[in-house]
């Protein structure tokens, strides 16, 4: 009997090892362990054995059964693994083929720079304000201490649509609006960005361009001095142009500020060594700035004896050209899709 069981075990092991798929294994399992299997028959026949043989053989049958079961389980595991790997093999793809391209748009470089400037100043507590592009002579010039006939108006030949209305030549127009609008005379810290227009068009000037204007007004005894203006612009320039940039304040003249300065920065291109871009001076003129002229304060509702302020402005187009290495200003306004679509990703911080 023992030999017979031994044989069953061996045969079973061999049959199991030959099985190639799960269905066959299932069939074999029924054959080996099912009700009609040899093993079941032996178990059923245990009663006919001598009483002292019974437990021994019974236990041996169970051992054989356990062994077969474990063999089947092992085989099942192996076959499942094999089936899975075959399936996976079949599903193999060329992972070097291109991924599905999802069309990605792009942000115009001017607006990229505008957003960066806005974020910088908002982080310093400035409000971003907006003003009309179709301005009145009053806000564009007169309230900024530029009466009719003022020679400085020559610097800004303008697009008038009537004797009163014109396309703003400078975002400074928003200064007057902000001051007048602030009836509580609370401190002002604002910037304004946007389109400006002047009657000139050549390789380096577009009749439409973009500016940012900043204005800080507060009570005189608080810190609104040239030194504060300098510090503020240092932050601005270092963020927008580069940490290594140095600033040079050059006394200048704008009717709406007194004193007035033009602010030069270390030449973007040569780093100050001197090159054709900076006319060998090592400096690039970047901003106009100054302390708000007392007449401007007065005309816009602030008592110059009590209040002081500083203001600054710069062209955004050139900053954008510098930042992205754009070689010709005309690219900014031609809107060639091959140009636009280059500005389609996050820039380095």
């Amino acid at each position: 009997m023992k030999e017979k069981l031994e044989k069953i075990k061996e045969n079973a092991k061999e049959s199991i090892s030959k099985i190639q798929n799960l269905q066959e294994l299932q069939d074999l399992k029924v054959k080996l362990l099912g009700k009609k299997s040899e093993l079941s028959t032996i178990l059923k026949g245990l009663g006919s054995l001598a009483a002292e043989e019974r437990p021994k053989i019974g236990s041996f049958v169970n051992d054989v059964r356990n062994e077969i079961e474990s063999n089947i389980n092992e085989a099942e595991k192996r076959l499942k693994e094999k089936a899975l790997s075959q399936k996976l093999e079949k599903e193999k793809i060329d992972i070097t083929m291109p991924g599905t391209k999802i069309k990605r748009g792009s942000k115009h470089p001017i607006n990229r720079v505008i957003e960066e400037i806005q974020d910088l100043f908002v982080s310093m507590g400035y409000d971003v304000v907006d003003g009309p592009e179709l301005e009145t002579d009053e806000f564009c010039f007169e309230r900024l201490n530029l009466p009719d006939g003022h020679p400085a108006r020559d610097m800004q030949d303008s697009f008038y649509i009537t004797s009163e209305y014109l396309l703003r030549t400078q975002t400074s127009a928003v200064q007057a609006r902000t001051m007048l609008g602030n009836t509580e005379k609370s401190p002002i810290r604002m910037i304004c960005t946007g389109k400006t227009y002047r009657r000139e068009d050549d390789a380096t000037h577009s009749h439409q361009f973009n500016q940012v204007e900043g204005l800080v007004v507060d009570r005189k005894e608080l810190n609104v001095s040239l030194a504060d203006l300098k510090g503020t612009l240092e932050v601005f320039v270092k963020k927008m142009v580069g940490e290594k940039s140095e600033l040079r304040f050059r006394p200048s003249y704008f009717p709406f500020t007194e004193p007035s300065y033009e602010v030069d920065v270390t030449c973007f291109k040569c780093g100050g060594k001197g090159c054709p871009l900076c006319k060998k001076t090592g400096w690039i003129e970047l901003l106009g700035a100054g302390m708000v002229h007392p007449n401007v304060l007065k005309m816009n509702g602030y008592d110059p004896e009590k209040y002081a302020g500083f203001a600054f402005g710069t062209g955004i187009d050139r900053l954008a050209m510098f930042k992205y290495g754009i070689t010709d200003m005309r690219y900014l306004y031609t809107n060639d899709v091959r140009f636009l679509s280059q500005f389609d990703r996050k820039d380095e911080e």
């Binding site: 291109p98 991924g99 599905t100 069309k103 990605r104 748009g105 792009s106 942000k107 115009h108 607006n111 806005q118 507590g125 400035y126 409000d127 971003v128 592009e133 179709l134 009719d148 006939g149 020679p151 400085a152 020559d154 610097m155 697009f159 649509i161 009537t162 209305y165 396309l167 401190p187 810290r189 389109k195 227009y197 068009d201 439409q208 800080v216 507060d218 608080l222 810190n223 001095s225 040239l226 030194a227 504060d228 503020t232 240092e234 932050v235 040079r248 304040f249 050059r250 200048s252 003249y253 004193p259 302390m291 002229h293 002081a308 306004y333 809107n335 060639d336 899709v337 636009l340 679509s341």
Partner: protein, 788 residues
């Protein structure tokens, strides 16, 4: 303003080299464009042509032997006026001429050439300053020119010039004397006095000559007379200083008027006194009055022009240009000198119309009356000295100017508060002393007397600027304002729309606001008055746009011309208008799409109406208007759009925009656009974003397909489904449409209907009757037929 270093040295001691001077001037606010030698050539010597023979292999070249002192050089010369025994300017081998032109030893058609015989224009003097002979050939030096020596020095052209770009307020720097004060302040040097000494004789001019002024636009008019002048060439120093200042020398008399203007900043006018009569009048021109100016052009004058007249007719445009009839000529004997101040705004307007000149520029910037008196004396002094004139006694004076000196009170604290500095009183006073400003002290209070030459200084802040610039802005240390903390505010809506459009695959553009007037009323039926420029730069851009569509369409055309087929672009910008006498501007969002809109190589889709509509809907949904908008057929035809593919966008009953295909007659290629008035749209409040409880019960989806008349719109079908569906119908979406020949005028439309409840799991028994009801309603209301 071109500053001749030799010229300014007459009045102030300048030790600094040219570049340093230019940089130091820049630091105090006077930017420069260039700083160069008047003759920027190197290795020039005076040579003598010993021999001059025709080149054997040329019909115009000469082969010369030139003695340059140290050796005799063989030089090939092409100038027509080269000959033996003349003294010439020779550029030796290795010389550098303007524009980087290098002289090398060479061989010209078989003849050795070891240098170049130069024309003046070749060594750096502009042709406009040269005589006819010098324009066409080499310069022939006088016989006494020393061979081997520097010709630039010999010709007294050894000057250096800084070309300053002055600010509009510093009219005082449009003079050598003004520059001398500025340089004196920088280097702490005293300015020398101007020599005004001269003789005078004869009867007082006041007895024989009258100055009449009949306009407020002339506040000062001085006249003097110089008799028996000799007209000749000016001495070299005058000619060379004029050339250095970019003024063409003419003759000694004319040159002196220009020389004094350069020196003192006061423009003068010299008349041929014998052609003038015995009076001179300043008045406003009469309408229609005519005058032939110096340049020979007859001008039509207007009432706004100030003219000089001889009592009957106009003889000059005050401050702008003299008349032809009374100009100084070779034969002029007696000269009447005018030194006057005319209103800057008037001069500016007239000169803008006629011509901008050195004189008009100075009038425009404003003049110091004290300087006017000085200038007329200086002019007669020079006429006496360099034109052999006899000066007639007396000056005829008309003077309504206020010459009171301005006094400004200032505290050191005012200065330090505004500059953010800690400058001592002693340093402040030192600045005023260097600027040659007189002052008195009373404790902390300083009272500064501003010299009349500094018309730009009238308030305390102007003085603070002076202190700042002479003390040195570089010495002021930057700091950040100490202010109460607050959050800066910015409206990010536009930025978010922009980002959303970009994420939908569109490229942002930035186009011009100025367009052509033939496009301004296109793509809209809105009534508005167009805003035309009074003085456009080009007719191509003569009006402010109302819609952005013409701008974007132009961009499309540009890209198409460059073989770019897929153009999906957008822009947020302003449109301008005048309505009911009011000017206004609106912020608009505009998009244009054509070509393919793709999601990968194998998933391209030709852009059609529904894609751009989808983009627009995505924006509207994103902004919170989902369920509040509809698209309707325009009531009035929009003639630039395809009549069957255009819709007005209606949000809460107001039309806020348009979407459609551009009319095939405008663009054969299918081009789609939309434009939304963001001001109108965003004025409609959206509800706050709020969480809605998610149903824990599963929903049931049922699909139906119906066949119905093509002309029944999706909107109409939706309305029927929604009404019949009741509140258990939580969503319905069209997922398939098709048309074919068999269907003819009808189309098949498939909808997926989703039913759900927040309180229970729905069963088919509950849902099927609703679906039945929907189908019945579709059949009844729209004559639809269920597809089985």
């Amino acid at each position: 303003m071109k500053l001749s270093k030799n010229f300014v040295r007459d009045y102030v001691d300048v030790q600094a080299d040219l570049k340093t001077l230019a940089e130091d001037m820049t630091r105090v606010g006077n930017e420069y464009d260039s700083a160069e030698k008047l003759v920027p050539s190197t290795k020039l010597v005076i040579g003598k042509v010993l021999e001059c023979k025709a080149h054997p292999d040329s019909d115009h070249l000469h082969v010369c032997k030139v003695d340059v002192g140290t050796e005799v050089l063989n030089i090939v010369c092409g100038a027509p006026n080269v000959r033996e025994n003349i003294k010439v300017i020779v550029a030796l081998a290795g010389a550098e001429l303007p524009n980087g032109f290098l002289i090398k030893k060479s061989n010209i058609r078989g003849e050795e050439s070891n240098g170049m015989i130069c024309a003046l224009y070749e060594i750096g003097i502009d042709k406009k300053f040269l005589s006819e002979e010098d324009k066409n050939g080499i310069h022939i030096l006088p016989d006494d020119a020393p061979v081997g020596k520097d010709p630039v020095e010999y010709l007294k052209l050894d000057d250096e010039v800084i070309d300053f770009e002055l600010t509009a307020n510093r009219g005082d720097l449009l003079s050598i004397l003004g520059m001398a004060y500025e340089i004196g302040a920088i280097y702490d040097k005293k300015v020398k006095e101007v020599d005004l000494s001269h003789g005078e004789s004869g009867d007082d001019l006041n007895n024989s000559f009258e100055v009449r002024v009949n306009t407020d636009n002339c506040k000062l008019f001085l006249a003097r007379k110089a008799l028996n002048v000799t007209i000749k060439e000016s001495p070299d120093f005058i000619k060379n200083r004029l050339i250095a200042s970019d003024i063409r020398p003419i003759n000694n008399v004319v040159d002196i008027s220009n020389y004094v203007m350069l020196e003192l900043g006061q423009p003068l006018h010299f008349y041929d006194a014998d052609r003038l009569g015995n009076c001179i009048e300043t008045r406003m021109a009469k309408n229609g009055e005519k005058l032939t100016t110096l340049d020979g052009i007859q001008r039509d004058l207007e009432e706004t022009d100030i003219v000089i007249s001889d009592g009957t007719r106009a003889i000059g445009l005050a401050g702008v240009m003299g008349g032809l009839d009374t100009e100084i000529e070779e034969t002029t004997k007696n000269v009447l000198i005018e030194a006057a101040i005319f209103d800057s705004v008037r001069v500016r307007k007239t000169s803008k119309k006629i011509v901008r000149s050195e004189a008009s520029n100075r009038f425009e910037k404003g003049l110091d009356p004290n300087r006017t008196y000085m200038a007329i004396e200086r002019a007669v002094k020079l006429l006496e000295k360099y034109a052999d004139a006899t000066i007639q006694t007396g000056t005829v004076v008309y003077d309504k100017t206020d010459k009171t000196e301005k006094k400004i009170d200032i505290l050191v604290k005012d200065i330090n508060d505004l500059l953010g500095t800690n400058i001592s009183k002693a340093d402040v006073l030192d600045v005023f002393r260097r600027l040659d400003f007189k002052y008195t002290e009373n404790g902390d209070l300083i009272t500064v007397t501003v010299p009349t030459r500094r018309l730009d200084i009238s308030i305390k802040e102007d003085l603070i600027e002076e202190v700042g610039r002479i003390y040195g802005v570089d010495n002021i240390k930057g700091k950040l304002p100490v202010v109460p903390m607050k959050i800066g505010s910015v409206d990010k809506t536009q930025r978010e729309i922009r980002d959303k459009m970009i994420s939908l695959g569109l490229n942002e553009t930035l186009s011009y606001v100025l367009i052509n007037d033939k496009d301004v009323h296109k793509y809209t039926n809105d009534s508005f008055e167009e805003l035309k420029l009074l003085d456009p730069m080009t007719e191509e851009r003569n009006v402010l746009r109302y819609s952005l569509i013409p701008s974007l369409y132009k961009i499309y055309e540009y890209n198409k011309a460059h073989y770019i087929k897929d153009v999906s672009i957008f822009e947020i910008g302003k449109g301008f208008f005048k309505k009911e006498e009011k000017y206004g501007e609106n912020t608009k969002l505009c998009a244009l799409m054509t070509g393919e809109y793709y999601l990968g190589i194998n998933n391209k889709k030709e852009i059609d109406f529904y894609i751009i509509k989808g983009v627009l809907e995505e924006i509207l949904n994103y902004l919170g208007y989902e369920g509040r908008y509809s698209f309707c057929i325009p009531k009035e035809t929009l003639k630039e759009f395809h009549p069957g593919q255009v819709a007005e966008v209606n949000v809460n009953g107001e039309i806020v925009g348009v979407v459609g295909r551009i009319h095939p007659e405008i663009s054969k290629e299918p081009v789609y656009v939309f434009e939304i008035n963001l001001d109108n749209l965003l004025a409609k409040k959206v509800s706050k974003m709020k969480f809605k409880e998610i149903s824990i019960y599963p929903s049931i989806r049922k699909d139906i397909a119906i066949i119905l008349d093509k002309n029944i719109s999706a909107d109409e079908i939706s309305k029927v489904i929604k009404k019949a569906g009741g509140n258990l119908l939580v969503n319905y979406e069209m997922f398939d449409v098709y048309e074919n020949v068999i269907l003819g005028d009808r189309r098949s439309v498939a909808y997926s209907l989703t039913f759900g409840s927040n309180t229970k799991t729905l069963t088919d028994d509950e849902v099927n009757p609703i679906v039945e009801k929907i189908i019945e309603s579709l059949e009844k209301n729209l004559k639809a037929e269920l597809r089985k």
